[in-house]
Amino acid sequence: MPKLHIANFSFAAALLLAAMPAAGANAIPDLSGVWGRNTIDYTAPDSGKGPLKNISGSRTVMVGDYNDQMLKPWAAAIVKRNGEIARTGEAFPTAHNQCWPEPPPYILGNQELQVLQGKDHISLMYSHGSQHRTVRLNANHPAKITPSWYGDSIGHYEGDTLVVDTVGVAVAPLSSLDRYGTPHTEALHVIERYRMVEQEPAKTEPRATGGFRGEDDAIDRSYKGKVLRVDFTVEDPGAFTMPWSGVVVYSRAKGIFIEDVCAENIHDYVTGKDAAVPTAKSTRISDGG
């Protein structure tokens, strides 16, 4: 039997190498999966102006720093008003607790996020109230946008990062960008950058920024792989004197995607207890008479 010459193998190898895609060329970062957080705060960016801080001294009392220079006077007045309500022990109304959609970046406070990467769009699904944003890939914002709760989001990949650009977020009675009820205008422009990063050495969320415990902790603590980091920037010359940024880091979520039905939710995540809602032993629908 004729022996295969080494040149034949070399030729075959050359065919294989020529056909293989160059490493990294057109590679899309894999951001898919179910991601969890156990706090609803933002952390400060690596540089530049960061989000509002809580000045109440307690993670259970939502008082945003209304003296922060980034707030225009009318926006500062709303943050101050909300803080005054919070200091009385009451919860001021928000899109989150009134079961309305939450625009970015506020929606990044949801406990779980599921990322589904399609060919021409990304689906971002959130656990609170079953919310869903669609990011159209490699598209442009329409020339005329009808404002909506989630706005119009377009995205593209830059190397290992998914960049999402959102405009056209409607102003609603409870519009807010953070847990302090910081408002916005229709000039809101949010840029989010999603990428996978190595986990930092294990540490729990600092108590000062909140942190759910026990069954409300959405994170798989045994997961040691890469995690999903979102750096976002907010611009709104109608509400802010300057752009500001923040960071949210998700880890792998544990268990099955949380079913969090806002319309019936009685769980107080701050105290970890359910509110004592009156219950009936049996149902009785009105007979209309």
Binding site: L4, H5, F11, L15, P101, G129, S130, I256
Partner: protein
């Protein structure tokens, strides 16, 4: 020109085989993707099966002050007495002009097959999971592929859904439903218990079969008063998506029963549909007169 030596040819063939191998392996492992996309229906009602016991039927539309409602057959043989009583209660309320409380008008999650009343849905293929998105209040059902129901699950509104592909169909099996403030499997208020078990089989069908199924559904259940911003693409002549489903719940039904829901390719954009702020009375064609203030009080 020198011809290729046999050894060289063998080397090339090896290379080509190696190149082709991952594609073939991927094809065998790849799920059926053509189910993906956005699909639309034209009515709220469930379609009767080709044979066997089917869903509660409507006895006809009754106009009431500009609106209308379908009178349900409360004597359907599939209903046990407690279920028949619930359907009768719903009929009586609608006759009296009182809107019957449903998961749809109370902004609560909808169990299958009731959720097929939502007129536009997206089917998305994820890693090890199918996601079914419904264009009413951003509802999302998660179907874990090639998985099992947990031995001890926590009942939930949508239940626990597992799925697999079988002979060109996506088969979804759901148990573990919780019974909330409203618990209904159809638009007539047929109730369910925690024993509810729903099996759905999604299959692509020819355009003519899909069109015929939808036309039959309109004849059986009547047209909708509004399309919830959903619309079928009138120019699309490709396949439709039909889900055959079977419902079992021995607490409320005398026997398992089946039905279908047929979708065609959607022709409308996917829009936000926010139940909590919706003031539109679709049956009266007007907005509810919600009190408004010129400026905030605080």
């Amino acid at each position: 020109m020198r011809s290729m030596s046999p050894a060289c040819l063998r080397g090339c063939l090896v290379a080509l085989a190696l190149l082709a191998w991952p594609v073939q392996a991927a094809d065998r492992a790849a799920p059926v993707l053509e189910f993906s996309g956005t699909w639309a229906r034209t009515t709220f009602g469930l379609e009767q099966p080709a044979s066997g016991p089917g869903p509660v039927r409507t006895l006809g539309l009754r106009g009431e002050g500009g609106g209308n409602f379908n009178v349900a057959d409360e004597n359907s043989p599939i209903l046990k007495p407690a279920a028949a009583a619930a359907v009768k209660m719903r009929n009586d309320m609608e006759r009296a002009g009182t809107d019957y409380p449903t998961a749809s008008n109370l902004c609560l999650p909808m169990a299958a097959p009731y959720i097929f009343r939502v007129q536009q849905m997206q089917l998305l293929q994820g890693k090890g999971e199918i996601l079914l998105l419904y264009m009413q209040d951003h509802q999302i059902r998660h179907v874990r592929l090639n998985s099992s129901h947990p031995a001890k699950g926590t009942p939930s509104w949508y239940g626990d859904s597992v799925g697999h592909f079988e002979a060109g169909a996506l088969v979804v099996d759901t148990i573990g439903f919780k019974v909330g403030r409203v618990a209904q499997v159809d638009v007539f208020g047929s109730p369910y218990s925690t024993a509810l078990h729903v099996v759905e089989r999604y299959r692509l069908i020819d355009y003519e079969a899909a069109r015929a199924a939808q036309e039959r559904n309109v004849r059986e259940n009547g047209p909708v008063a509004t399309e919830q911003a959903a619309a079928i693409d009138p120019s699309y002549r490709g396949k439709g998506l039909q889900v055959e489903f079977t419902v079992e719940d021995s607490n409320y039904f005398t026997m398992p029963w089946s039905g279908t829901a047929t979708y065609r390719r959607a022709g409308a954009e996917w829009v936000e549909n926010v139940c909590a702020e919706n003031i539109h009375e679709y049956y009266a064609g007007r907005d509810t007169a919600v009190p408004q203030a010129d400026r905030p009080d605080f």
